[in-house]
Amino acid sequence: MAIKPLAIAACTLTNALGAGLAASLRALRRGESGLRPCDFEDAELNTWIGRVAGLEEEPLRGEFAPFDCRNNRLARLSLEQDAFGAAVRAARDRYGADRIGVFVGTSTSGIGATEHAYRQRDPITGSLPATFDYRHTHNVFSVADFTQRWLGLTGVAFAISTACSSSAKAFASAWRHLRAGFCDAAVVGGVDSLCLTTLYGFNALGLASTRPCRPWDVERDGLSVGEGAGFALLEWAEPDDDRVLLLGYGESSDAYHMTAAHPEGAGAVLAMQGALARADATPTQVDYINLHGTATPLNDAAEDRAVVRVFGPNTPCSSTKGWTGHTLGAAGLTEALFVHLCLEHGLIPGTLHTRRRDPKLGANIVLENQQRPLRMALSNSFGFGGTNCSLLFGRSPPFSGERSRGKGGK
């Protein structure tokens, strides 16, 4: 039997494509990438990044000043878009501040603040500057703490940090906490910001491309690191709810290798099957898969095998990493909300920058945008440590692929 679905009551998204959902939708429709040659701080790396403009000039002030770091600035910028705060305030009046949980995924949180502090160590004592505030910046919980306070909520709150599946798993934790009665609604988030740790780390592993990433391309040679933030307000769906619904989720561990994906995608298979099983859906009901699709040679190959094993070679798939870069701990939320946009607007995005599909790969990779009504779509997120999470979203007919086409949507 299918699990009780959660409805996305409100959502917001900020990444290299701009602040707010409309910026992402516009860029997706126009095929405009947010990637640029690396210009983050003083990093001298021959790679492309998805940087959010303007964060450098927008410090957090007043009671939020202790939280000031790039990661929380990015969270704040995102929380200010799409009337998300107003939606949460209305939910707060409806449910109570202590009955709305906060589950935010992040991989590196505000480690950038610690990177800066280490460059300012006292030459004699080795101490970090006295102004360094580890708790409110670098600590993993910082961004969940900030989000909860910014929204004036007082219920259960924690940060989920499972590398690049972090914020996909926020949806699963939110569902469980609502199911257990620990909260009546939930704010799920994903926030990860550029830092030297990830830029130099992925370069050290030889996983960062010198060009904009090209998922599933025969010449793909690595990922582009990005940053982003996204939030969604979740509550139980009503009967005949016409909002986008979380229909199922699946989680698994590869139990194979700390950084390399299982070559057959065994864990990814379990995650996708888990999402279908919880939704009581069949593979043929899924109209689109937003791949994890980082564009590293081995990751794409493993995900390809897993997708073909579960769905066969026909289900349309694409990776949107060419637009945003890999936003790491924010990727799950970012791509869940891309799927939300796709379901609302009847859009299957292409796979930006990819020219020639790898003939060794079997999934039905869409290269150019398509307009068609969508009923159900899946989002995949996988990460270091062999962590996997798949989310299945959908909506009931009449679904608005037709409506947006009727309005002349591109």
Partner: protein
């Protein structure tokens, strides 16, 4: 609220080297003496792997390993994966993860060549112990790694209980934190290493150490420990905020414990044998 059975406990901290050796201390029958934790931990890792991993990873795996060694599980109880590994979901709760690794990375980034070690980079993620645990036990079940700063133990308990109910399956909660190295130690004080693992079963269990019922989060003061050394641990390590619960389990009596859940919040837990 339906209760959960605690089927096994793993424990490692100064003077608390393993659950069996610590019960009398926690129950107040033996004095607490803060001896250093043993060097030999996480023996389930292959020897070459054990040399490569940090104390943080070993501490987390040690308590997980100890709890699972006590567990009575049906063999081959993982039909959904087709693998022989453990059919136990995991929740890893830690305030700050592996500060030793983060210190090394941030130090490397101050050098002119900025050479981040690939090993340090992959060990820097918060779910590193979860990844090593899955590999060591061939366990493909889902796993969550989380942080709620000083409320990490209670956040992990919420998540473990929610997960156990949702999936009607056993969940292993592992909470751990260690003192960070200098200079981070000046900005985050954790007084001593502390790791604890609880194997929770939402189904009735004959092999239980205790039954738990979570109350609601509230404000007020958390339970303290009578022994000054144990109280120093509880107040000085986020994972050790669970000590009042461990004391209640060790005593084997019916009672209610109040755990520190965060800045000003507490969680009440009803405990019975």
């Amino acid at each position: 609220m339906n209760p959960l059975a605690v089927e096994a406990v793993g424990l490692m901290a100064p003077g608390l080297a393993g659950w069996a050796a610590s019960q009398a201390v926690l129950a107040g029958q033996r004095p607490y003496v803060a001896e250093p934790i043993p060097a030999a931990m996480a023996t389930l890792l292959p020897a070459n792997e054990r040399r490569r991993v940090t104390v943080t990873i070993k501490l987390a795996l040690q308590v997980a390993q100890e709890a699972m060694a006590q567990a009575v599980l049906a063999p081959g109880s993982s039909p959904d994966t087709g693998r022989t590994g453990l059919a136990v979901r995991t929740v890893f709760a830690s305030s700050g993860g592996d500060s030793e690794v983060l210190d090394k990375i941030c130090t490397a980034l101050t050098q002119p060549d900025r050479l981040v070690s690939p090993t340090h980079f992959h060990q820097s993620v918060h779910n590193t112990p979860a990844g090593y645990w899955a590999i060591a036990t061939d366990c493909m079940q889902s796993s969550v790694s989380l942080s709620a700063y000083d409320g990490s133990f209670v956040a992990g308990l919420w998540e473990a209980v929610a997960l156990a109910w949702a999936d009607q399956a056993r969940v292993l909660l592992v909470a751990y934190d260690l003192p960070p190295p200098f200079p981070l130690a000046e900005h985050r004080q954790i007084v001593a290493p502390f790791g604890v693992a609880l194997l929770l079963n939402p189904a009735p269990s004959a092999n239980r150490l205790a039954l738990l019922r979570l109350g609601r989060e509230t404000t007020g003061s958390a339970d303290r420990l009578d022994d000054a050394g144990l109280e120093r641990l509880r107040a000085g390590n986020p994972a050790a905020r669970g000590l009042p619960l461990l004391r209640a389990i060790a005593r084997g009596a019916v009672g209610r414990v109040i755990l520190a859940a965060g800045a000003n919040a507490t969680l009440s837990v009803e405990v019975e044998p």
